[in-house]
Each structure stands twice: as C-alpha cells, then as structure tokens.
Symmetry: C2
Subunit: 300 residues, 2 copies
C-alpha cells in the first residue's frame, strides 16, 4: 500500500535532560515515514536546502522511503532548535530557521498523483490544500496542523478540515480550534468541522479518539528511559495512519489497533534522540511491545 506524506525534513538541535544533539535528522515527514514504513510504501513530499547532507536522504532511501519528491532548492535547510527542561511534554523552541521552507511549493510526479492515502503534516494549510488538489482520487486524507495556522490561517484550515477524513491535533491545538477546554467536547466539536475521525494527542497521557459516536482512550506506553520526545507525535501519526492505510476497511477494531501501533512506535521514538531509536527499530520489536501493552491493560 502506498502512502504520500507532506511535511518537513529538517535539521534539529535538541537539548533534553539526557543530553544534546546538533543538526540531527528531524522533521515531521521524517518521523512519520520511519513509523509508517512498517505498513506502507511511504512517499515523502518536502523541501531541503543546499546544505542538507545527502547521507540523510540515503538513509531514508535505505529504509524504503521514496524521496523523489523531496526537492533540493537554493538556500538554507529548515532548522529547528529546542530544549526540554522539567516538562518533557512541551518543548521550548529556541530558534527556527525556515530557509527554503518559506517558499515551499510541493510538486509530485504523475505516479504519486494516483496515491490515494495522504498524510498532510503541519505546514501552511494553503500548501496542504494545493497538494491535495493534485491527488486524483483521495481515499484516506489525514491532517495535522499547529497553533500558528489556527491563529493566522483559520479559514484555509477550515477548508482543508472539510476535505479530511482524519484530523490529528495535540491537546492545546484541539482546545484552540474548538474553544472547548474539556477534550471530549473538543473532539466532538472538531468532528463537526469535517473529519470522520478526530484524534487528540496528549503526550505522556496518551491519546483520545472520536469515531462513530464513540470516544476511545489509550494511555501512553510507560517508557522507562525517556530521552527525547521530539517527533513522538509524528511517529504516532506514522504508525496510526500507516496501519489504517494498510487496513482494508476502517472500523472500531482497526481504529483501536492503529492507535495501539501509533502509541507503541511513538514509545520507541522517545527512547533516543531524533531517529536514533526508530532507525534501527524492527516490526518484530514493535509487535512484541504491542503484545506486552495489551497484556498490561488486560485483566479478568
């Protein structure tokens, strides 16, 4: 099954209580792809600058990711620098260099236009709309966003929400769009904006999903060694959307399994800086932890 993912491929500098890494491979599309690859052939749509190390593209290729629509443009690569202090749920952004991202216009090849499963990670909603318009027959469209677009491009965001099947938001975003503080009400309110499935990511508190008039909750997998939360949300999205894209039909059971796979892959992601842990992750390890998680929650 093919899956097209629009997002960022970035160079991250991250400091957490566990240490620091400079200019490591990051970005929403990267983390998404490394999780979704277990279920789908992932095609990334992104932009990088002249200074972006080719070894990172080689690495993605080796992981089976199609990088033909990651365009290299004149200028600097997108860079993010952040720190996690006491609260590992919330990064403090120290610096953002948009670079080539500021004039990003996604282009895909004719073959990719036929891909029917699409993930639109957090970029300008107008860019998300533009890419979606080039898709011939979308079957599953999943959308992510961030507070910045909620504040500055609300109308475009509402337009793309109407065209989406799945909306992923973190708790702050869900509250900001819906105006509801209580997340269950927020989820219901977001569903009225278009998507069949609303999924709210709560970091260390897990996720809640709203689908078919039912609220599902799943806690995060309890990780002993929390190193770097960067990309956990995109890892979750990758496992979740990847699993759903592969599933023949979406019902309550496949949705719960997809949430579980997203949760588990995200739990591996936070055990290392950047892609350190997910780059060497195997499906066998994922399945083992899925079984352990189910066992942990099961009782007679």
């Amino acid at each position: 099954m093919k899956l097209l993912a629009l997002g960022t491929v970035a160079l991250d500098t991250v400091k957490t209580p566990s240490g620091k890494r400079c200019d490591i491979l990051g970005g929403s599309a990267t983390h998404f792809a490394l999780a979704a690859r277990f279920f789908c052939d992932v095609n990334l749509v992104s932009v990088i600058g002249e200074d972006f190390p080719s070894k990172h593209l080689d690495f993605l290729r080796k992981k089976g990711v199609d990088v033909s629509s990651i365009r290299r443009q004149p200028g600097a690569s997108f860079r993010w620098s952040g720190e996690y202090r006491g609260d590992l749920n919330a990064a403090i952004t120290l610096k953002t260099i948009l670079g080539v991202l500021s004039e990003f216009s996604p282009r895909i090849n004719p073959g990719q236009r036929k891909i029917s499963n699409v993930f639109l990670a957090n970029v300008d909603p107008d860019i998300q709309l533009r890419l979606l318009e080039t898709i011939k027959s979308p079957r599953l469209v999943a959308l992510d966003t961030m507070n910045y677009w909620i504040d500055t491009k609300r109308q475009s965001l509402f337009k793309i929400l109407k065209k989406s099947d799945i909306f992923l938001a973190n708790d702050a975003e869900a509250r900001a769009i819906s105006g509801e503080r209580y997340l269950i009400n927020a989820a219901k309110s977001l569903k009225r904006l278009g998507p069949e499935i609303v999924l709210i990511k709560k970091g260390e508190h897990g996720v809640i999903a709203y689908f078919d008039n039912t609220i599902f909750s799943l806690p995060a997998y309890p990780v002993d060694n929390l190193v770097d939360p960067t990309g956990a949300g995109d890892s979750f999205a990758g496992g979740f959307i990847g699993y759903l894209a592969k599933a023949k039909k979406i019902n309550k059971n496949t949705l719960k399994k997809a949430i579980c796979y997203g949760t588990i892959i995200a739990s591996f992601n936070v055990e290392g800086f950047g892609v350190e842990r997910t780059s060497r992750l195997t499906l066998k390890e994922v399945n083992q932890r899925v079984r352990n998680f189910k066992k942990l929650m099961h009782f007679k």
Copy 2:
C-alpha cells in the same frame, strides 16, 4: 469486610460551568465512603461542627456507612468553597473555613481498633499517624495527602509513608514529593519511600500505578456530561481501596480491577454536583460501565 476511613466531612460551595451549589455535603471521607460502600462496610472517622445538618449524617447512615466516629464538636463545620473555570482538572479555592477541623483529634471505639483496612485521606500527617497507632493489626494502609503537608510537614509525611502499603497522590503532589517531573520516575521514586503500591491520579487523563516493578496505566472513562469534578479523586480512592480491601489477595489482576472500579465510580461522581450522582448509584450501574469500559479498550 470492614474499612476504616479518616478524612473530612464538609460543607462545600462549588461553582462550575454547569452551575452552582451552596453548602452541599462534601469532604474526602464522604466521597470515599459513597464509593467504597459497594465493597466494604465503611466506618468514617471525622469531625463536624454544631451547624452541620443532621440530615447529612442520616443520609450516610442510610447508605450503610458507620458514622459513630464522626464527632460533633463546638464550633463551625469545615467549609470549602471553590470554582472550576476553563480547566476542569484544577479547582480554584475561593475560601476555606477550617472550623472544628483545626483541633481535630480522631477517636475510634474499641471495635473499630480491630479493623485492619485503613484509608487515611488528606489531613495533617501527625493526625494520620496518631490514628494509625490505635489500630491493632493493620493489614492494608492506604494514604493520601496534599501539597500543603508536603511543604509544611515533610518529616511526618515521610514517617507515615513508611507505614503505608498504598500511596495515592495526584500528579502535582507526586512531582512535589519526588522532585521528578516525569510521572513514571515519580512513581518509582515514591515507592522507595515505603508503599508497595503507588498510584498517581491524573484527573481527566486517568491514573498510573506502580506495583511489583510494573507500571500500569488506565485512561479516565470518557464522560459526556462533566458537571463537577469535586471529590473525583476520593471517589476513585473509595472504589480502588474498597475493592482491594475486599479482595482476598492483592496481585496484578486484582490491582487492575481495583483501578478499573475506582475509575468507573469516579466517572459517575463527576456527572453531578457533590454526591448528587453517587448517592443514587447502584452496583449494577457500576458493573455495566465497567463492562463497557473493558469493551471500549478491547481489540483483537
């Protein structure tokens, strides 16, 4: 099975987005008892003032609660007044009148000294210690506290923690005592202070428990109609400790079931002001929601 619970019996004035109630029956011991009564014969140890309406004691008696050690003393009853605004997870305390609580010295009768299951709700740790010393052969001692005692009576708190089998804390308290921001580390750190079981209450995000080198998480039950969160933590404790006290032995399975019952009874508690919902709650309704919750989380 008998269960002795030390805590407050109060008159609450509460304002939430759903409305306002004045001088309604509240207090940690009250909410605890109304949940634990489904599993145990609850004996309350508390103090009330001259102005405390007798109808509330009659009500507790009718619910099967032994109120013989709720002493009426000269002076005003303990009153708490609070408001929930946007964030239904955190109350804003508007006013606290300690009244008779400020000179509370718990006394129990000889029969109650033989009760081996004890819940010590949030009061001065020196008072908790004093009561515990009068218990002949404690089997299961569960402890709750609050930030005020962590700040002002740390040594006494550590002393009673050493004598406790179960420690219940909310996320802020767990972080304040342990100095750990990440709750899984906080739980592990708290266990080193004495209790075999550490349970961290996270409000709308559910709970995590640490027991036998294993972390268990359970999300909150998704409630449609969140009216008043006051007492949810004590309702949880009542269902949780009540179930464990009744269980012949505590293992991972009984612990998970106890967490589930606590979660479900707390979910009913928040559907009404004060004890409005839990006062007319039946075990049949509880079991039905437990089954529904298990079904919600189950997938193939």
